[in-house]
């Protein structure tokens, strides 16, 4: 396998990490909805916390995407694109 193919396969493998972030974001919103339906009057006060948890979780998925994009589009010395 030449190194250019390895680069593309690596980008694909890096993107798998986004699936984990997807699971995490789903858990956050699912649990928020569960809590919000049990006590709807308190739910709007937790909007900030909800978005903070979402942002921090999403960041990890975005890091995977970043690695994939770096592998795809940033020239690596010694490998022709």
């Amino acid at each position: 396998m030449d190194s250019d193919s390895a680069r593309l396969i690596g980008a694909g493998i890096a993107a798998i990490g986004m699936g984990g972030a997807g699971i995490g974001v789903g858990i956050i919103f699912g649990n928020f909805l569960q809590g919000a339906l049990r006590n709807p009057s308190e739910a709007p006060k937790q909007f900030g916390n909800l978005i903070f948890g979402f942002a921090v979780t999403e960041a990890l998925g975005i890091f995977s995407l970043l690695i994939a994009l770096l592998l795809l589009f940033v020239p690596i010395p010694g490998i022709q694109q």
Binding site: G48, I51, F52, F54, A55, A59, I62, F63, L65, L66
Partner: protein, 250 residues
């Protein structure tokens, strides 16, 4: 390929000039950033011009935006945070929101899809946190890396993690906004490209091209949500980081 999805992110020089050998040309990115700032400033000043006791429609929108961010800063950074940083956070929010919204028009450039722009704002926040943190707390600012209320031995593990997370903040702060806007606009263009691709396949294709068209409309609505949400997230995280500068060690 006729509809290159990356073409929308190309930076074109409009008025070239240099400052001391550095390329400081007026580009389409600068144009749309200036348009965003202009639109936000014009809207806020003209909406608040009447300053009526019983506000009109535009004044209600302006006051709602103000109260929304004001409440967010107060919840995340306390009254002292409001006193010191509210104008900064509100400006950041309005700029990002206006830039995202301007990018939603077809054929318009999205300034926040360039990492240099989001990274500049994220580094601005990062250095504000460091400068304010040391100016206000002195060496007590290092308590940020030693959270209170845990057994002494755990500092061996916790402190490196805290230091690492502190220095990865500007990275995640910048990349989050950039990658969300970039990926959203790319997906939009790719789905829109499916419409002519299917329509080229004859009568059945034209009937079938309704599907990607509907999907594009739905994604467009989602992008409006993302445009607001990412501006809000950026402002919220700015508040949380600034809170660390004011009250380290919590």
């Amino acid at each position: 390929m006729s509809n290159d999805p990356v073409h929308q992110f190309h930076i074109n020089t409009i008025a070239p000039f240099e400052i001391a050998g550095l390329d400081a040309s007026f580009t389409n990115a600068s144009l749309f950033m200036a348009a965003g700032v202009g639109a936000a400033a014009l809207f806020m000043t003209s909406a608040m011009r009447p300053a009526a006791m019983a506000p009109g429609r535009t004044q209600v929108v302006a006051e709602t935006a103000y109260n929304f961010i004001h409440g967010m800063v107060r919840d995340a950074a306390g009254e002292e945070g409001v006193k010191r940083f509210f104008p900064f956070v509100f400006t950041l929010f309005l700029f990002i929101f206006a830039a995202n919204m301007i990018g939603m028009f077809p054929y318009f450039f999205t300034p926040t899809s360039q990492i240099i722009i989001t990274a500049t704002m994220a580094l601005m926040v990062f250095f504000t946190v460091i400068v304010v943190g040391f100016a206000k707390n002195g060496l007590k600012f290092f308590k940020l890396f030693f959270p209170s209320g845990i057994p002494w031995a755990l500092y061996i593990i916790v402190t490196p993690i805290e230091i690492l997370s502190f220095f990865s903040r500007p990275l995640s702060h910048a990349v989050r906004l950039w990658a969300n806007v970039l990926a959203g606009h790319l997906v939009l263009k790719v789905f829109a490209g499916f419409v002519p691709m299917m329509a080229a396949a004859g009568a059945i294709g034209i009937a079938g091209s309704i599907l990607p068209l509907t999907m594009t409309v739905a994604l467009y609505a989602l992008e409006f949500l993302v445009a607001f949400l990412q501006a809000y997230v950026f402002a919220l995280l700015t508040c949380i980081y600034l809170n660390d500068a004011l009250h380290p060690g919590h």
